[in-house]
């Protein structure tokens, strides 16, 4: 028998009662490592290519099994024509007791699906598919038990969520008003975003300064509905106007 911790861990998803019924388990996620009667023999006459976690093709030698990935998802062992996978007949994979396995992440089980193993322990099932989680029990499981095993062994497909949509930002809605007041002092009717505020008076666009406004300047004092103080009183003919976004 050959066990690794992660193999035990995967079996740990089963109920203790079902776990005691397991006679054979081959995860086939990244190696031929399995629980059962040795040996396991994989053959392929030629070299091949496997897609690893990095998403790249990696050359592999003859007689080396291909464990492919789709992103972080372990697809399993790719079985194709010209390849053979053989377990010891002592595992009795072909008998009538329940055998469960996955093909391309789809769960299969006997007797609903034909047993893919021959009497000599060879994979005789579907080719050109990824197989994994081959598990054999020492009795015929009920449908409910089969479902629970399949649910326990099914891959949680790794889905990388898309980046969140950035919040919709808006420069805001502009207010255009004639400020109330006279002389050099005027008041806005709203609290403006000061960096959006444009003030026109006596025919020019005034520049906002912190203090002591000159002829083409103004200050925005106070808080809330700001008080505008111009450096020069607007003439009677040129309109005074303010454009701003409300803070």
């Amino acid at each position: 028998m050959d066990l690794q911790l992660w193999t035990i861990s995967r079996l740990g998803r089963l109920t203790p009662a079902l776990r005691r019924e397991v006679t054979f388990y081959a995860p086939l996620l990244e190696s031929l490592d399995f629980l059962g009667v040795e040996p396991v023999i994989f053959t392929r006459a030629t070299s091949s290519v496997a897609v690893r976690r990095d998403g790249l093709d990696h050359a592999i030698a003859a007689n080396v099994p291909r464990f492919n990935y789709a992103g972080e998802t372990q697809l399993g062992l790719m079985m194709q024509a010209g390849e053979s996978l053989e377990y010891s007949v002592a595992n009795f994979l072909d008998n009538i007791n329940t055998l469960i396995w996955f093909e391309e992440n789809a769960p299969k089980s006997t007797p609903t699906n034909a047993n893919p193993f021959t009497s000599s322990g060879l994979w005789g099932g579907t080719l050109s598919v990824h197989i994994k989680h081959i598990i054999k029990f020492k009795r015929i499981l009920t449908n409910a038990e089969i479902n629970s095993v399949q649910a326990a062994l099914a891959e949680v497909v790794q889905v990388i969520p898309p980046p969140p949509t950035p919040p919709v930002v808006s420069p805001g809605v502009f207010v255009n008003e004639v400020p109330a007041g006279s002389g050099t002092t005027f008041t806005l009717s709203n609290n403006p975003n000061l960096n959006s505020l444009i003030v026109d008076a006596h025919g020019v666009t005034l520049k906002r300064v912190a203090s002591a406004p000159g002829n083409m300047e103004f200050t925005a004092g106070g808080t809330g509905n700001r008080t505008l103080t111009f450096g020069m009183a607007p003439s009677g003919t040129a309109p005074t106007q303010a454009w701003y976004v409300i803070a």
């Binding site: 420069p171 960096n195 959006s196 444009i198 666009t205 300047e217 976004v245």
Partner: protein, 79 residues
């Protein structure tokens, strides 16, 4: 993405017309003011003495070179 009011960044010597601003403004939000006048935006570099400006990214070209002693040209935009 705030509103910004800032002076144009560049040399004021009566000949320089090339200035920069701190951020790339959102289209349509930029107002450039020179000597109290809002400048017209033009698509290509404005002719010398044209009361206009062009903007590409954070680079801004004025038609009129500001003179020493004049109010520093300024702008308001959203980015």
């Amino acid at each position: 993405m705030p509103w910004v009011i800032e002076d144009l960044i560049g040399t004021i010597n009566g000949t320089n017309r090339a200035f920069t601003i701190s951020h790339v403004p959102e289209a349509g939000s930029l107002i450039v003011v020179q000597q109290g006048k809002k400048l017209e935006a033009v698509g290509s570099q404005p002719d010398q003495m044209q009361v206009a400006y062009s903007v590409s990214g954070t680079n801004l070209t004025l038609g009129l070179a500001p003179l020493v002693g004049q109010q520093v040209p300024w702008c308001r935009y959203y980015y």
